[in-house]
Amino acid sequence: MRSEIVAPIVFLMILTLSTVLRLYFYYQNSKQYFQYEHIEGYILSHPFNKDGFQNFQVKSINIKTGVFPKYRLGDYVVIIAKNNGSTNSVYYPKIEVQENRNLLILNKISIYRENLIFKAKRNLPEPYAGLILGMTMGYRDDFPHDFLDLLKRTGTIHIIVVSGYNVAIVILFISFVFTFFGRKINLLFVIISVLAFACLAGLDPPVVRASIMGLIAVIGTFSGNSRMSLYVLYITLLIMLLINPSYLFDIGFQLSGVATGTVILASMITTEVTFSSVVFVNSFVNLALIPPISYYFGTISLISLVSNLMILWIVPFVTFGGFVFFVFPIFVIKVFLVFLIDFYIVITKALGSLEFASIDYRFSVAYIFTYYLVLFFIYLFIFKWKRYLNESN
């Protein structure tokens, strides 16, 4: 066997084995770990408000505290918690910020993000500001319950999560601006910008995944090769788990991994960009996302395919328009963004008001495995059938 084939296989095997071992040891010790009453470390994702709590993680432990005072990405915190060990969440612990140990660069990025949020909210009402901030940089503070329910019922809650779209826009924009600086300098600026954007968006699993994949794509200068994309996704997910094993049960990590993997797999069957191929990829992604969404939210949207087909196209426009609006907050762009989001609101409200829009059902773990097994066989069948049709033509 040639070395260019053997080396990647060995690399993948070592990476897989290391990740499995890392997960095994992490979760074996986790019960003891959660019983610690003294936790200290960096806040590495933006704290956010939900259900009256300010939420953030320190060393994979969810901290839920009062909305004030505000904590920041990059803060070094010492937490005295009373935890019974049965959960990895602690409520209203005593928190002390050790300012001399803060990561200043992350603090600065956090302050910059706060200023952007402040300006956007000063210029636009809700839910417009929140949706634009969600699509551009993963902002997810208190959306009201009725609005979140609407997003869940219509299966469109993922649009407020930063994804590959955003990273692609950053890469394309920076590459364009620094076109004349030569490949190496251009690449350097792209890498710095993607890393800065990942910090700005909060280092949440979907952002980290999209950023790593984006950087690998840029450095490796490959695009459009589905099989290669699948390997890159696999390697990215393993690296993320190797660094932070708690991602394994993070809903953002799971949804982002499933959605990206399904898009790549579905694209291996349908290579042309036509309406029917868009419907096919969308259907496949929607089917694949049913188990985790049902498991975590207890809801299955029956109209998510239709709602996503109708509204998903606005995401790149709002994302790009949102970035432009942050720099030039002029009325014309404001109207453009408001009308696009009005379109989204009108469609989701109309579809969400249908009685059969969603059903309340929670998948068990056994059902999830069975479901994916069946879905995989259906995929294989379509894949082989498509190949047979291609060969017979």
Partner: protein, 278 residues
């Protein structure tokens, strides 16, 4: 671009434009209609009321216990209106003051009617003071031109630690249309204010989320409101409103609306006729 693609693009633009007009027009119409609009917002367990006067002045009374007031305001105002002329803090409990912090941060606020002579009762009130003082918004005469408001005689108040005992009661009048806003005023406060109130009113905000300790029948027999609105959260832990309070209002012939059941309750008037939008 092929002609088919151009046609598709034009169709998409038309669809987006129509959706925009469909969504924005009702708010535009209500804002510029020269009528009084009173919105008793559904902000969960808390109070927040927006009043739009015929000359398009906006008065926000309290901000609820979370940020949902921001969304409720956006539901009734055109997207380009980012100014609230007057803000009233009836008293500093979190379920009345929390949302105001976001209102101050996200809207241009004219002034805030608020007394800061006592120390803050929570970190939330502390934060509220910080943001409003930074912008120099606090004024004791903020609403003098737009609302009649009544001061309690603190010498007669024994329970000085209870912020409900200094809850501001205010009245908005436009021609023959009167609305009374009562905050969380308890019986003692209402009894003190009653001698200053003599005319019939149309709408009353039920004091203290319909709690029995704030039901004061003489207020109703004197003012004879026709509609009462209870601001209360669904399945709240205080089990408000009290059924006895609701019965008390209904037995006086007053129609009761509740924000937990009816969502945001809107009352409109041209100063002569008035109605609850259902």
């Amino acid at each position: 671009m092929s002609p088919t693609k151009i046609t598709k693009a034009i169709l998409v633009v038309i669809m987006v434009f129509l959706a925009g007009v469909f969504n924005e027009y009702p708010r535009y119409k209500d804002y510029y209609d020269n009528m009084v609009h009173v919105y008793f917002f559904d902000v969960g367990q808390g109070d927040s009321i927006l009043l739009k006067t015929p000359d398009r002045k906006l008065i926000l009374i309290d901000g609820g216990g979370d940020d949902s007031v921001i969304y409720r305001i956006s539901e009734v105002l055109p997207f380009w209106i980012k100014k609230i002329d007057y803000v009233v803090v009836t008293h500093p409990h979190a379920d009345h003051i929390f949302g105001l912090i976001s209102v101050i941060n996200q809207y241009k606020v004219g002034c805030i009617q608020y007394d800061d002579f006592l120390p803050p009762i929570s970190t939330i009130e502390d934060e509220f003071r910080d943001v409003s003082k930074k912008l120099n918004l606090i004024s004791k005469s903020c609403i003098n031109d737009v609302l009649e408001h009544y001061e309690v005689n603190s010498a007669e108040i024994t329970d000085k630690g209870n912020p409900n005992m200094r809850s501001i009661i205010s009245m908005y009048t436009y021609k023959d249309f009167d609305v009374l806003f009562t905050g969380d005023a308890e019986i003692l406060v209402q009894a003190q204010i009653l001698p200053f109130l003599s005319k019939d009113i149309e709408v009353i905000k039920v004091p203290h989320h319909g709690s029995m300790d704030s039901f004061y029948e003489p207020l109703l027999t004197t003012l004879k409101p026709e509609v009462a609105v209870i601001s209360v959260g669904k399945n709240n832990r205080y089990r408000l409103p009290s059924q006895d309070t609701i019965d008390g209002y209904e037995n006086s012939g007053i129609k009761v609306f509740r924000t937990d059941l009816d969502s945001t309750v809107e009352v409109i008037s041209d100063g002569d006729l008035w109605s609850v939008v259902e």
